[in-house]
């Protein structure tokens, strides 16, 4: 290669002076603003939390219809009267409000077709605000098994060395009625499971919202843990952090990992190719997305996906798209020539298992 031409080009990559001047004007402006009011981040967090609570409360109190205050000439309160304001709402259409779903798993309805993670990212613009729930990998496996309510055998659990911290945002909706009463009381109706946690370790300003999981993984310096970010994937906003237990010798293709997740989203069991993987490798990266998917990408391309929707948990990977499988094959062949040569490899089609051995994916309820 003629490095001189690259060097000549590189020396011309000088931004205009006005760009640099503009940068420092912005910096000075921000610094001045911060000095005037140093509590802005705290206030922002508090405001966002308050807005979130209020928005949940208001949306429940006024689901439909309009508000009418019954008596505009309400006499002033006397000491003997109860300090109570009654507001009624009238539904403008047929009653459509459904009773709240049970929060516990309903055994008669084992298929969860919507992600359990409730996105509040639009209301909570500042990702410092989060609700956290930390599960160990074994708990996650347990959740997936319980959630899927399937009898498929669990042949291989994720490595115990993979520490995963999941941050999910959940909002428990209180019961909704067409006629609501707002009772002034010292006891505020705040959902108990909303917590605000401030993680000082993470500089959220550094973290863009990623469009794909691949971007998320590529962004981070794997040696600095834990990290948090918001991943917007298939309209599901997932806020999570994860702890990596990987060695420095990583050889992973995150585009492939992403494409596999994509494939599972559209999985149809009868058309799946089955790829046997060896889940015994200790060093791994595991991602749990909501309560639905657990993707483990081991070194050298060994991939294990546990997915409720794929209806199988174990050492077999479902790939609904042949092209994804071919990509996987090519990828592994590239990094493991022995596999391409037909010798012992880490990934192979397992002829001993057929799709008949796997339960069908239950049809979506909707």
């Amino acid at each position: 290669m003629n490095k001189a031409i690259f060097n000549d080009i590189y020396n011309q990559f000088t931004p205009d002076r006005r760009v640099i001047d503009g940068l420092f004007e912005r910096i000075e402006k921000e610094d001045r603003a911060a000095k005037r009011f140093p509590y802005k981040p705290v206030l922002a967090v508090a405001s966002v939390a308050a807005l979130a609570v209020l928005s949940v409360g208001i949306s429940r109190i006024i689901p439909h219809g309009k508000i009418e205050i019954e008596d505009h000439t309400m006499p002033p309160f006397s000491e003997t009267e109860e300090n109570e304001i009654i507001v009624t709402t009238e539904a403008t259409s047929e009653k459509t409000t459904q009773p709240p779903e049970e929060t516990d798993n309903d055994s008669s309805n084992p298929t969860v077709t919507e992600p359990i993670v409730t996105s509040v990212s639009e209301e909570i613009a500042d990702p410092v605000t989060s609700v956290s729930e930390t599960l160990s990998s074994s708990e996650i496996v347990e959740e997936i098994v319980t959630g899927s309510n399937q009898s498929g055998s669990v042949t291989d659990k994720p490595s115990e060395t993979s520490d995963i911290e999941i941050v999910t945002i959940t909002v428990t909706e209180p019961p909704v009625t067409d006629t609501a009463e707002i009772i002034t009381s010292e006891e505020e109706d705040i959902p108990e499971d909303i917590e605000v946690e401030i993680d000082d370790e993470v500089q959220y300003e550094d973290l863009p919202v990623f469009g794909t999981l691949g971007e998320y993984f590529e962004y981070f310096n794997y040696n600095e843990l834990p990290k948090k970010a918001v991943v917007s994937y298939n309209t599901i906003e997932i806020m999570f952090s994860m702890r990596f237990s990987v060695s420095n010798n990583r050889d992973m293709d995150w585009e492939l990992a992403e494409s596999i997740v994509e494939a599972v989203y559209t999985a149809e069991a009868n058309e799946n190719a089955l790829i046997k993987v060896d889940g015994s490798v200790a060093d791994s990266i595991s991602v749990t997305i909501g309560d639905h998917f657990s993707l483990s990408v081991y070194e050298h391309g060994i991939i294990k996906l546990s997915a409720e929707k794929a209806n199988y948990l174990g050492s077999y990977l479902f790939v609904s798209d042949k092209s994804v499988y071919e990509t996987l094959y090519d990828y592994v062949a590239e990094i493991d020539p022995a596999f391409a040569a037909g010798e012992e490899g880490v990934v192979a089609i397992d002829d001993t298992v057929s799709t008949d051995d796997v339960q069908e994916v239950p049809a979506d309820e909707d």
């Binding site: 031409i5 080009i9 940068l23 912005r26 910096i27 500089q203 550094d206 590529e218 010798n249």
Partner: protein, 166 residues
């Protein structure tokens, strides 16, 4: 709000302005977008209170941030709808290089898929060793080498009969 000192940020801008601006230009294909990315990246650096372990660490952080900021810009709906005006540059970026040969090579690199473009860019323009490229992009040394090999092949295909420029 805790931020880095201005002198610290100034020092980083002096050392890495070409790196950040050039990489942003390559990834966004637009001078105005690259200028935005340049400012946002160094603003993020200024706000960031992370302690860096030397210049290589800063460099790696800036590379990652520039790449991600560029993605954010290129994926924004505003940009997709916008039409650049007053664009006289041969590659549509509003950035004009000194010679035609340089423009041809620069365009060819910019037309590589990002997966190959960024390692190629860092290797040839910045002269970074593969190990440091790997650290900056979160890739193993072998993966970087593999992408460089493929990227070079693709670059030659893109250049066609101008391959001898390389």
């Amino acid at each position: 709000m805790n931020t880095r000192s201005i002198s610290d940020t100034q020092s980083a801008v002096e050392k890495f302005s070409k790196l950040v601006f050039g990489l942003a230009l390559s990834n966004t294909g637009s001078k105005s977008d690259a200028e935005d990315v340049f400012q946002e990246t160094f603003l993020a650096y200024h706000r960031c209170t992370k302690q860096f372990n030397g210049e290589e660490h800063i460099k790696a952080w800036l590379i990652r941030t520039t790449v991600n900021m560029s993605r954010r810009v290129t994926q924004s709906s505003w940009r997709k709808r916008r039409a650049d005006i007053e664009d006289d540059s041969p590659d549509g970026s509003n950035f004009v290089l000194q010679t035609e040969e340089q423009t041809i090579v620069h365009n060819a690199v910019n037309n590589l898929p990002e997966k190959y473009r960024v390692p190629i860019w860092l290797f040839y323009f910045v002269d970074m060793p593969t190990r440091l490229i790997g650290e900056a992009l979160g890739l193993s040394d072998n993966t970087v080498r593999s992408r460089l090999t493929r990227g070079r092949t693709m670059l030659k295909e893109l250049l066609g009969d101008k391959e001898d420029l390389l």
